[in-house]
């Protein structure tokens, strides 16, 4: 009897629009961050400060709204907030050749401290962004509201993701960037400034992650707190790995991980407690499993996480 109740609850969750709306909201946050992270990883840098970039973006977004009373300004400032972290990360690790993990981990801690500190001192207030419904498409059952009836910053993704794909696969810049990630020595010999491409890819990750943090603030929270990102940046990294360093796979990872989270939240709303630990660990377990199964076929950029110093190696 309990089991039947449970399955009917699962059915309710799967057939309710709010599950999909919540899922799209989380997926968008992951997608903003993961798109930039994907670009960065294709250039051969494992950018683990993406968590800090998201948080910095969320805070800067709140600050922007606080100052100008406008979501658009908030988003722009959010992107700048992410970019600031990216500049520190890029300059330290790919100009000064400091270890990228030291810089990334330090920045993550630094941003939590700094935004927490400034939040207490300034206490910026923000608000929700207005929702925009795209006519006709929004009436599609189940998915319509989730994909076409969202707060307006959501729709930036529809431009950002194809743009990132085009930049990486269809421009000279993208080709050079991928060369820097696959074989930096050869790239260097053929006249590509490897570390410069890597820095630029990190700037890109900073911009998109900052935008993502600000989006999340305006779409879901409306008030800033230093725990709002709470590890989503690491899930975005997991999504890139899960996607086998392809953009579409990465997006698939974002949707899958966000879907699992939203599913769990909706079930909780109906009074069913799933094994929360397992669900929270799911993105990482699935990613590890996918890597273990496909590791021989799908491989990371050959120079991922390896610093490039001309003349060494």
């Amino acid at each position: 009897m309990v089991l039947i109740d449970f399955f009917s609850a699962v059915g309710d969750v799967l057939s309710s629009e709010s599950t999909y709306i919540n899922g799209a909201l989380f997926a968008a946050l992951l997608a903003f961050a993961a798109t930039g992270e994907w670009v960065a990883e294709r250039s051969g840098t494992l950018n683990i400060s993406v968590e800090g970039m998201l948080l910095s973006g969320a805070f800067a977004g709140a600050l922007g709204y606080h100052l100008a009373d406008s979501v658009a300004v908030g988003l722009m400032l959010g992107a700048v907030g992410g970019l600031i972290i990216a500049v520190v990360q890029a300059e330290m690790s790919h100009r000064l050749t400091a270890d990228q993990f030291v810089v990334g981990l330090t920045l993550n801690i630094l941003v939590v401290g700094l935004t927490g500190f400034l939040d207490r001192e300034i206490d910026p207030r923000a608000d929700y962004a207005s929702e925009v419904e795209i006519p006709i498409l929004v009436d599609i059952p189940l998915f319509g509201q989730a994909l076409f009836g969202e707060p307006w910053p959501f729709y930036l993704l529809y431009g950002l993701v194809p743009l990132s794909w085009w930049l990486v696969y269809r421009t000279r810049w993208g080709l050079e960037l991928r060369a820097a990630g696959e074989n930096p020595q050869s790239a260097d010999v053929s006249g590509i400034d490897v570390n410069r491409r890597r820095r630029q890819s990190i700037y890109y990750a900073g911009l998109t992650s900052g935008l993502g943090g600000a989006y999340f603030l305006f779409a879901r929270l409306a008030t800033f707190d230093d725990s709002v990102i709470g590890g989503q940046g690491f899930i975005a990294i997991a999504a890139v790995i899960f996607g086998g360093w392809t953009l579409w796979g990465t997006m698939g990872g974002c949707v899958l991980f966000a879907g699992a989270l939203s599913f769990q939240l909706s079930l909780q709303g109906l009074g069913y407690e799933l094994n929360t630990e397992l669900l929270q660990a799911l993105p990482y377990l699935v990613t590890i499993g996918a890597m273990a199964i496909f590791a021989r076929r799908v491989r990371p950029p050959a120079a991922l996480a390896q610093p490039f110093i001309r003349g060494l190696k």
Partner: protein, 363 residues
């Protein structure tokens, strides 16, 4: 350039970057209406000057050093292990499981508990080793992802009484805590000049010497370094990358696990007071990784680096009393780490430029 000039240059560079980092922190504090000088004083008081504080600092430095030593070993083999936070937590969980579900009372228990902790960390790191050498998954990715799995796994364990959760009598109205370690099972904390710290401090120091010796002076250490410098040459001369690499990862994890167990049984500054609690690892694993990388993957400099990082942590406890939000210490710590990264990088880049210029002249 003479040695003296070089040393002076290092000192100047380090002093300069530290001053810049502190200046930026002071600007942040002053700009938000706080007073900077008392914050700095509180940091020094809390970490060294106030009574009993340097003992606290040593107590924090010990697990940091242990984590860093493990990182040094796996890094020497050319492996990038960034999952110490999870390995440490697993070590603590194994130690707790042993203490309350397997072991009995007695002083031998303390040693066994520490060994179990090391086993826990080794198991967790070996999962990454298995993925690497069996399936070809890069260890830098798997160790990172396994951190978050470990956090959830230990969280799960703390929900069930047959795993880690305390029985109702000993946990009171608290949830998600383990039993408290019995007095006779704790690591002794002798009192020296009014400062208390667990004897694991000495163990960590001895291990630092041992690691430095083993890496520099033994065949095993030589092979490990060869594997790190040139895996192909190592393979040709009979050093199996699988055997040596997997061993190095496991030992690295064992050190992190040992640190977790030592935190659990050693008491002291905010380490759960002899209980396993949610958030027990408290960034010690991440910070230990930073210590190792700051020390450029060498065992003896890691001793100094561990103490510096421990000072920032214990000093932070005193900042609140100055009326400035204590989160500022995270900022100071972060800025200081970034500042300490600059001098070696600057010197390294300049030396390389000079060497390259000299090389082209000769041609």
């Amino acid at each position: 350039m003479t040695r003296g000039v070089r040393a002076a240059e290092w000192v100047v560079l380090y002093a300069l970057s530290i001053v810049v980092a502190l200046a930026i922190s002071s600007v942040i504090v002053e700009a938000t209406g706080g007073d900077w000088w008392p914050v700095l004083e509180a940091l020094v008081d809390g970490s060294i000057k106030a009574p009993g504080r340097w003992g606290e600092t040593l107590g924090v430095a010990a697990p940091l050093l242990l984590v860093a030593l493990g990182t040094v070993i796996s890094a020497k083999a050319g492996l990038i292990n960034i999952g110490q936070e999870g390995q440490l937590l697993m070590g603590a969980a194994f130690a707790v499981y042993f203490s309350f579900r397997i072991g009995g009372p007695g002083p031998l228990n303390v040693v066994l508990l520490l060994l179990f902790g090391a086993l826990g960390g080794a198991v967790w790191a070996s999962a990454a080793g298995l993925l690497r050498y069996w399936r070809g998954v890069p260890e830098v990715l798997s160790t990172l992802l396994l951190v978050f799995v470990a956090i959830q796994a230990v969280g799960y364990g703390l929900k069930w009484q047959w795993l880690l959760l305390a029985d109702e009598a000993s946990r009171g109205n608290r949830n998600l805590v383990s039993e408290q370690l019995a007095k006779n099972n704790r690591i002794p904390r002798p009192d020296i000049f009014g400062n208390e710290f667990p004897v694991t401090v000495y163990v960590a120091l001895a291990l630092a010497l041992a690691v430095a010796y083993v890496l520099a002076r033994t065949v095993w250490g030589f092979r490990l370094r060869m594997l790190g410098h040139n895996p192909r040459a190592a393979q040709r001369s009979g050093v199996s990358s699988t055997v040596y690499g997997a061993t190095a990862l496991a030992i690295g994890g064992a050190f992190a696990g040992l640190a977790g167990a030592a935190m659990f049984a050693g008491g002291g500054f905010s380490f759960g007071n002899y209980r396993l609690v949610p958030g027990f690892s408290d960034n010690i694993g991440w910070t230990g990784l930073l210590v190792a990388l700051m020390a450029r993957e060498r065992a003896l400099p890691a001793v100094v680096a561990a103490f510096v990082f421990a000072m920032l942590r214990t000093g932070a406890g005193f900042v609140n009393s100055t009326g400035v939000e204590s989160r500022i210490t995270d900022v100071v710590q972060g800025l200081l780490v970034l500042a300490l990264l600059v001098p070696p990088a600057v010197v390294f880049l300049r030396d390389r430029r000079r060497a390259r210029a000299a090389a082209t002249e000769r041609v």
